[in-house]
């Protein structure tokens, strides 16, 4: 078990290396640079800025320089935000994104499993069809439609919650719901499918024949194996939620790091994009690793003998 965990962690290093390398050269291949703007700097000013950040060197040397910094835990300075380090920007934004993501994950998980289970137990009933239609809607409505709708209803029409900002628990709710909805819908569909299959399995029939109460059958015998597909979904989903969403952060004005993905790329802030990609990559690897561990706990068959 321990050696397996160690191997997993070791393979993460080349994975992240390839990720950083690809992102680095793709970013540099895109036309335009960080200091292009509507105003256009004088050529000598631009040359000086490029030299200051070593952007006048060949790409391979810049990459070497970046990797060297990385070994010392240095993600470099942001090219866009004057006087700020990428590590500082991620350090400021990550706790916000993580808090929002955690609330969204909790909502998605509890809501999704509950709705999925209800649908599976009432399979092919009107309730099942209604719930699955809602789930389909939740999956297919993009957050730039859902988020403004939530604001219109709960902030403007009803005046219950703030329309934006990051200021106290009340301001977490709307963005968390907007962020959670697609995941919630996906989890509900996964749970329904998996639970439906398990409920038709022979050992469940056996449990029923023994006269076990339905509650016990569902919660002790059926739900546990049915949650395995949900669990494998959870790794990347959790990483995605924790690193934030560009759209939700922009619509609600939340100081997370999701926006740096897109903004950083649009502004050609090379170091910021690489830093966020690396952070996200490391999170995905970590969550997948945790999911693997949890798998072993939930499903004895996957444990090495």
């Amino acid at each position: 078990m321990l050696s397996r965990a160690a191997t997993r962690l070791l393979t993460a290093v080349p994975t992240l290396f390839v990720l950083v390398g690809l992102s680095f050269f793709l970013m540099h291949a895109a036309p335009g640079g960080p200091f292009d703007s509507e105003r256009s700097l004088a050529p000598e000013v631009e040359a000086r800025l490029n030299a200051q950040f070593h952007l006048d060197e060949p790409a391979w040397r810049q990459f070497g320089r970046y990797l060297g910094g990385l070994l010392h835990g240095d993600l470099g300075p942001s090219l866009q935000y004057e006087g700020r380090s990428v590590a500082g920007l991620i350090g400021d934004g990550a706790p916000v994104s993580a808090a929002l993501g955690a609330v969204a994950l909790l909502l998605a998980l509890t809501g999704g499993v509950a709705l999925g289970a209800i649908a599976a137990l009432r399979r092919d009933s009107a309730l099942d069809r209604g719930l699955m239609l809602l789930a389909l809607l939740g999956l297919s409505l993009p957050s730039y439609v859902v988020a403004p709708l939530l604001i219109l209803v709960f902030a403007l029409a009803l005046d219950w919650l703030p329309a934006g900002g990051w200021d106290g628990p009340a301001s977490v709710l709307l963005p968390a719901v907007a962020l959670a909805l697609p995941q919630l819908a996906a989890i509900a569909r996964l749970t329904r499918g998996a639970l439906g299959e398990v409920l038709a399995a022979p050992w469940i029939r056996a449990a029923r024949a023994k006269g076990l109460p339905e509650r016990l059958i569902v919660f002790r015998h059926a739900l546990r194996p049915a949650l395995l597909p949900v669990l494998s979904w959870l790794g990347p989903a959790a990483a995605g939620l924790m690193t934030g969403s560009v759209v939700v952060e922009q619509v609600f004005g939340i100081p997370g790091i999701g926006r740096y993905f897109v903004q950083g790329a649009l502004n050609r802030d090379y170091t910021l994009v690489l830093g966020v990609v690396l952070f996200y990559g490391a999170l995905v690897v970590t969550f997948n690793f945790l999911v693997d561990l949890a798998y072993g706990l939930l499903d004895p068959r996957t444990r090495p003998t």
Partner: protein, 499 residues
């Protein structure tokens, strides 16, 4: 507390390095220049109580107020302002605004790194007297000194770069908190010389990138002032928010550049003129921009100080006459129904740019029969193509003034200007600009610039389309808000009415 929607998060609040509009708004609260701009856009004494030109117009002497202090209580002296200007032109600062002050003695050489920064013609004669010598006339220097780039530097901040937001200021407010992407909080500066007149104790600037979200936060009473309004919502805003919408002319010009270094526009003036005549500007301003812009026939916007924009005679023609002339020029340029013009309009991703491009393509098609292709590009790709001039034909362009001066517009078409994306190279135009820059008499300067613009418009390296307007929603409880063409609104000039 006053809450202001401020558009993009400022990339820097270093007065000499920051360039964006959102940074400027905050910097004008944090720093006070030697001169200032009043609520209606008028030039006023600020840190300097008076100034005098030497008779030949080559030296400005400014007298600072008595008892000026930094926000931490330290004494503020003329040398601090001199240090700010030296830092601005120091090539190590790599400031985008250094060229605004290049006319200061030895300025060009200092910017280019040929002379040490100490050679710059700014000098503090004593704690309250600053002298600025010029290499060439710069009649709007007093107004330029109101720009945040000319802010003073505290001695403690001169050695290295302090952390973002940690610089010491001399404005009516001081920065107490900068939470990136969330808010910037300012409190009144008790050491400010005119703090008695400041009414609002605390100001919050909130980043509002998404205009639709900003509008919702304004409606939910989480903002007192917005940075702008979403164009598509304007009819609704006019109906429901009425007087809270404040629209004012703004010193910015939206135009199409034509690449003169490649076909079809190289050496074909009749074609360029035909395309210009075929554009129905009032229609665009009214139907596409909901009257939040003014139709433009010139590069320099109206309302600019000491200048009359050069509107060509055909601007007043009835539509039929204008279009007939456009068709005549189109034919003269060598095009016809059998051999139509094929041309690209290139613009960066934005709904508004797209809507305008579609309308102009339709006008060229309808009036002239030209076949127009629209090319949409991501921002930085667009900027690079526009600057390189290898692929562009017609392309979207914009210029926003740094100061209330026609020269700032005219110079972007000077042969070697970095923003001359059309590749316009006209010896007569360059000579007129040169003459204007060297003219000691403001009337001569003005007439040179007006002649230059008239000739340039006749040459049509660019097609003016509209002049910008500033657009804000301002809550009725905010008092003292005056529209002005620079769109500068200092928090110290505003008051909040008690609810």
């Amino acid at each position: 507390m006053l809450r202001i929607g401020n558009g993009n998060e400022p990339e820097s609040l270093d007065p000499q390095k920051a360039t964006g509009v959102s940074a400027g708004n905050i910097l004008r609260d944090l720093y006070e220049g030697l001169t200032g701009i009043g609520p209606s856009g008028e030039l006023l004494p600020a840190a300097a109580e008076s100034w005098h030109w030497r008779a030949d117009g080559r030296e400005l002497r400014l007298q600072l107020r008595d008892g000026l202090r930094w926000s931490n209580g330290d004494v503020l002296s003329a040398e601090d302002f001199a240090a700010g200007l030296r830092r601005l032109l120091d090539p190590a600062t790599a400031s985008g605004y250094a060229s605004l002050f290049a006319a200061i003695a030895n300025g060009e050489a200092v910017i280019a790194g040929r002379r040490p920064v100490s050679a710059l013609g700014v000098q503090a004669d004593d704690a309250r007297t600053l002298r600025i010598r010029l290499d060439r006339p710069l009649p709007n220097l007093p107004a330029l000194l109101a720009h945040p780039a000319a802010a003073p530097i505290h001695p403690a901040d001169r050695a290295g770069d302090p952390a973002p937001g940690a610089r010491i200021g001399n404005g009516a407010y001081r920065l107490v908190e900068w939470r990136l992407q969330s808010h910037i909080r300012l409190q009144r500066n008790r050491h400010y010389w005119n703090d008695r007149q400041t009414s609002i104790g605390e100001v919050r600037y909130l980043p509002t990138e998404d205009l639709h979200s900003e509008l919702k936060r304004y409606r939910a009473d989480e903002l007192d002032v917005t940075t702008s309004v979403p164009a598509t919502q304007v009819p609704w805003i006019r109906r429901t928010l009425g007087a809270e919408l404040r629209v004012a002319p703004y010193l910015g010009s939206y135009f199409y550049g034509l690449n003169l270094t490649r076909p079809p526009f190289a050496g074909n003036r009749p074609l360029r003129q035909a395309l210009s005549l075929a554009i129905d500007r009032p229609l665009i301003a009214r139907k596409v921009l909901h009257d939040l812009a003014m139709p433009a026939w010139s590069l320099v916007p109206p309302g600019i100080h000491d200048y009359t924009p050069q509107v060509p005679g055909w601007a007043q023609w009835p539509r039929a006459q204008r279009e007939a002339e456009a068709r005549r020029l189109y034919a003269e340029a060598g095009y016809s129904a059998a051999k139509p013009l094929q041309v690209q309009i290139r613009y960066n991703t934005s709904d508004d740019h797209k809507r305008i491009a579609v309308v102009i393509a339709a006008m060229w098609k309808q009036v002239l029969g030209a076949e127009v292709t629209l090319v949409n590009e991501e921002w930085k790709v667009f900027l690079q193509h526009r600057r390189a001039r290898h692929e562009t034909e017609a392309f979207r362009n914009t210029w926003i003034a740094d100061s209330d001066d026609a020269f700032g517009f005219a110079e972007i078409l000077e042969s070697h200007h970095p923003r001359n994306d059309s590749g316009y190279a006209d010896a007569a135009y360059d000579a007129l600009l040169q003459a204007a820059a060297q003219a000691d008499d403001p009337a001569v300067r003005r007439s040179r610039l007006e002649v230059a613009e008239r000739q340039m418009l006749d040459d049509a390296p660019i097609l003016p389309i509209y002049f910008y307007a500033s657009k804000h929603l301002v809550k009725p409880r905010v008092e003292g808000w005056h529209d002005n063409s620079l769109d500068w609104h200092a928090s110290k000039d505003l008051q909040l009415r008690a609810p």
